[in-house]
């Protein structure tokens, strides 16, 4: 019998009950703390799978949170804090990648997709509009009017009524 790798459903976050910011980390100034929280939500916890450092309770995430707060207290702007963290941990740490040559396709994706889809739509619409629709002749129009007048009371909601079946 083949010994297979033991395959377990590994729910990574469950190894540590999620608990992020602790009271002893919180900055006294609510304005600065709010900035720290906003920045933390944009930074990835490097040892977790897909969590921001604001959500994670890993030790490394805590170190990063403290680092962010230190820089803020030292008077860095948000951008400076971000630059500092990226310079130490690389672009991987950013949950919202910066626009550059490598990520331009990612950021442009919605626009490119929308542009492409609209282009196809217009092309198809042009194609179908070439299928000429012959206008009704005067006699046909008159006949139509007569039929409409005789059969319906002109009530608009008719069009939506269920078919009689």
């Amino acid at each position: 019998m083949i010994r297979r790798l033991l395959v377990v459903l590994a729910v990574v976050f469950s190894t540590a009950p999620a608990f992020a910011v602790n009271p002893d980390e919180v900055l006294a100034d609510p304005g600065l703390e709010a900035r720290a929280r906003a920045i933390s939500a944009q930074l990835r916890c490097m040892v977790c799978q897909n969590q921001s450092i604001d959500d994670s309770n890993a030790e490394l995430a805590k170190d990063l949170r403290l680092l962010v707060r230190e820089r803020i207290v030292d008077g860095d702007t948000d951008a400076q804090v971000m630059n500092y963290i990226v310079s130490r941990y690389g672009e991987f740490v950013l949950l919202k990648p910066r626009v550059n040559a490598r990520t331009i396709l990612l950021w442009a994706a919605p626009l490119l997709l929308a542009g492409f889809a609209s282009g196809v739509l217009v092309a198809v619409a042009r194609g179908t509009s070439n299928r000429t629709v012959v206008a009704l002749s005067d006699e046909e129009n008159a006949e139509l009017e007569r039929l409409l007048a005789s059969k319906f009371d002109g009530d608009q909601s008719r069009a939506d009524a269920p078919p009689l079946s």
Partner: protein, 662 residues
């Protein structure tokens, strides 16, 4: 012995699936009734075999037969019965079995309810279903066999992952798979239509109930998963833009588009080619989602740990089905004749816009999910694409969609009156804005953008009501006449209104929670009180407790308002004995549509404990909205038109109409 019989039944199911994959297709070519009938009988037989095999696996879990490897890995004799049963699919092997079971169920349902289908179409559809079944059974038998034995048998199991020991596991995967797999029927119909080279409004009528059912289940499945994550993970979030969530969300977006384009096709015979493509894409996304999660290429918070040998198999399945289907589409789609014409401003036009935005949104989520993977493969650079990216891009795409939604039902088919629709919606928009301002005022501020978000949600709800209102002619004709008309509206009209209103309710919930939520992170000692959301939360102390297979420290909180105690709630930190794995159980109290959410952290040195308390205003609207949408789906599904109105091509003598396409 019984285990081996279950294993054998699965192999028999493979043989049956192989027969259905080939014989009916040849039969459809030769117009041989007997060969085509193999499809129906075979599909029901295959379902019986798979169901038996699944029942055996369930039995092994229920009686805790630890000589079976998957049972040993994922169960324990002390686990409550409910989790023994739901533990069947709480692991890779078992969840593939559940997938297969539902696939076989849908095939059997098509066989049972497809009596009004033309013989060749039914034969081809069931054959395509069987192709999928063959791939899945092979995958299970060759790489993920749940019937593997251990010798000697261990005395005790390794326990089910504690996070999965929840009713959520009993409900969420079956609902989700009913959705995922339900779209396989649409896929099979699309492939069969391409094989036959013929498609018309009748096709859309047959496909729509399946798309609607799948969409409804997927909506419920996603909502259930979101609520489960919310209460189980203990950090109060309800959507993480995690690859696994995206994997379920993309088929939902594409499926929503499919539902709407099939409507155009059914009513006006337009958008045929597009609808076929969407049917293919929706199921392709389901397949991709199912497999990406298991292939180990994506990092996710709830990824299945994986075996690299599966990766190649998975890649082959994806290539064959998605690549094959798209190639077939490229060859055969030009054969399909174009359908009815319509002006840009019309209900068709609105639905095309809906499709445009939904597919672009789906494409954006897909790009965001796969981009880090592709970039790393090509350049070796590692980047992350997380919630801030998705919130920004997906959010911006949803704004125009939300504005357009109420217009759709108000515009006439073929050529609509935009001005008329706008005049009707002016009032709706006005009322919504006033309502949003009132809510905003009542909550004493928050970001100003909240007003527009709330107004958008209310606008959807009132827009849906306005649609029914105008259709019934309320306010224009005598009340009794209007009432009769309202009662006479087709069920599908109510389904549409409910689904659109549900979307609005969900938007309200999302906006309210993101803008008005408050959070308190505090050290608490017994007797201490914290104010949150107008309630005061008193911590009463910790006490130990034990459950059947865990021990826990429970914190007791007393919630009061204006000095009167209104609720008490327990929040706990559990350790599951078998795996020595800690989890948190959040304490949640519901007040109307809002909730207080309490989660315990680490004890402090001075005898206190860290507590996180959130006030989540109107959070139940998020899932409530999804449930309303699903109810809309069921109501629409009950429309008699879907049952009795389907045109029957079979009424004519079959032979002349059924020339092979090639």
């Amino acid at each position: 012995m019984i285990i081996e019989i279950g294993h054998y039944a699965l192999i028999l199911a493979l043989a049956t699936a192989l027969v259905i994959s080939v014989v009916p297709v040849i039969g459809a070519r030769r117009l041989d009734r007997a060969m085509m009938d193999v499809a129906s009988v075979g599909s029901v037989t295959m379902f019986a075999l798979v169901a038996f095999s699944f029942a055996v696996l369930t039995y092994a879990h229920v009686v805790s037969d630890f000589s079976v490897e998957t049972v040993w890995e994922n169960s324990h004799s002390l686990v409550p019965l409910l989790f023994k049963v739901s533990g069947v699919w709480g692991n890779h092997e078992g969840s593939m079995m559940l997938w297969l079971l539902i696939l076989a169920l849908f095939s059997a349902l098509v066989a049972a309810f497809g009596r009004n289908l033309p013989d060749t179409l039914r034969a081809n559809v069931l054959a395509v279903q069987a192709w999928i079944s063959v791939a899945f059974i092979l995958f299970i038998l060759l790489t993920s066999n749940p019937f593997m034995r251990l010798d000697p048998a261990p005395a005790e199991g390794k326990d089910l992952n504690p996070v999965l020991q929840d009713v959520g596991l009993a409900i969420h995967p079956p609902l989700l798979y009913l959705g995922y797999v339900g779209f396989s029927v649409c896929f099979s119909f699309a492939i069969a239509a391409l094989l036959e080279g013929r498609i018309d409004a009748a096709w859309a009528r047959w496909v729509r109930p399946w798309a609607l059912a799948a969409w409804t289940f997927l909506t419920l499945g996603i909502a259930m998963g979101s609520y489960w994550a919310y209460y189980e993970l203990g950090w109060g979030g309800w959507w993480f833009w995690d690859p696994v969530e995206n994997a379920s969300f993309m088929p939902w977006l594409a499926g929503t588009a499919l539902l709407h384009s099939a409507l155009v096709m059914e009513k006006r015979e337009a958008l045929k080619i597009w609808t076929v493509l969407l049917a293919i894409l929706t199921f392709s996304l389901s397949l991709m989602g199912t497999f990406l999660v298991r292939s180990g290429v994506l990092t996710s918070v709830h990824a299945f740990a994986s075996d690299p040998s599966r990766g190649i198999f998975i890649l082959c399945i994806l290539l064959v089905f998605i690549g094959g289907a798209l190639a077939l589409f490229a060859f055969r789609a030009p054969l399909l004749s174009a359908g009815g014409l319509f002006a840009p401003i019309s209900r068709e036009g609105a639905l095309v816009l809906n499709n445009l935005i939904l597919t672009v949104a789906c494409g954006t989520v897909l790009t965001g999910t796969l981009y880090p993977l592709l970039l790393e493969t090509i350049t070796g650079d590692k980047i992350s694409v997380g919630p801030p990216f998705f919130n920004l891009t997906f959010g911006s795409l949803m704004i125009p969609l939300l504005i357009v939604v109420p217009f759709g039902p108000l515009l006439a088919w073929k050529r609509g009156d935009l001005l008329g629709a706008m005049q009707r919606l002016y009032v709706v928009a006005g009322i919504s804005l006033v309502g949003a301002l009132a809510v905003y005022y009542a909550h004493h501020g928050g970001p100003v953008l909240a007003i527009f978000g709330l107004a958008a949600g209310l606008y959807l709800v009132f827009g849906a009501i306005a649609d029914l209102w105008y259709r019934a002619g309320l306010g224009k004709v005598a009340a009794s006449v209007a009432w009769k008309r309202l009662a006479g509206l087709p069920r599908s009209a109510f389904g549409t209104a409910l689904a659109h209103a549900g979307l609005g309710v969900a938007v309200l919930g999302i906006v309210a929670v993101t803008t008005f939520e408050t959070e308190h992170v505090v050290k608490m000692k017994p007797g201490q009180t914290v104010d949150a959301g107008g309630y005061s939360v008193r911590f009463d102390g910790m006490q130990p407790a034990t459950g059947p297979n865990y021990s826990e420290e429970r914190g007791h909180f007393i919630i009061s308002r204006g000095g009167v105690a209104v609720a008490d709630v327990w929040s706990s930190k559990r350790v599951y004995t078998a795996r020595q794995m800690p989890t948190t159980e959040a304490g949640i109290v519901t007040f109307g549509l809002s909730q207080l959410y309490m989660s315990l952290g680490d004890p402090t040195n001075d005898g206190g404990i860290v507590v996180r308390i959130w006030w989540k205003p109107f959070i139940l609207c998020i899932w409530g909205g999804a449930v309303i949408m699903a109810i809309g789906g069921f109501v629409s599904l009950s429309d008699r038109r879907l049952r009795v109105g389907a045109p029957s091509r079979r009424a004519k003598p079959a032979r002349p109409a059924l020339e092979p396409a090639e």
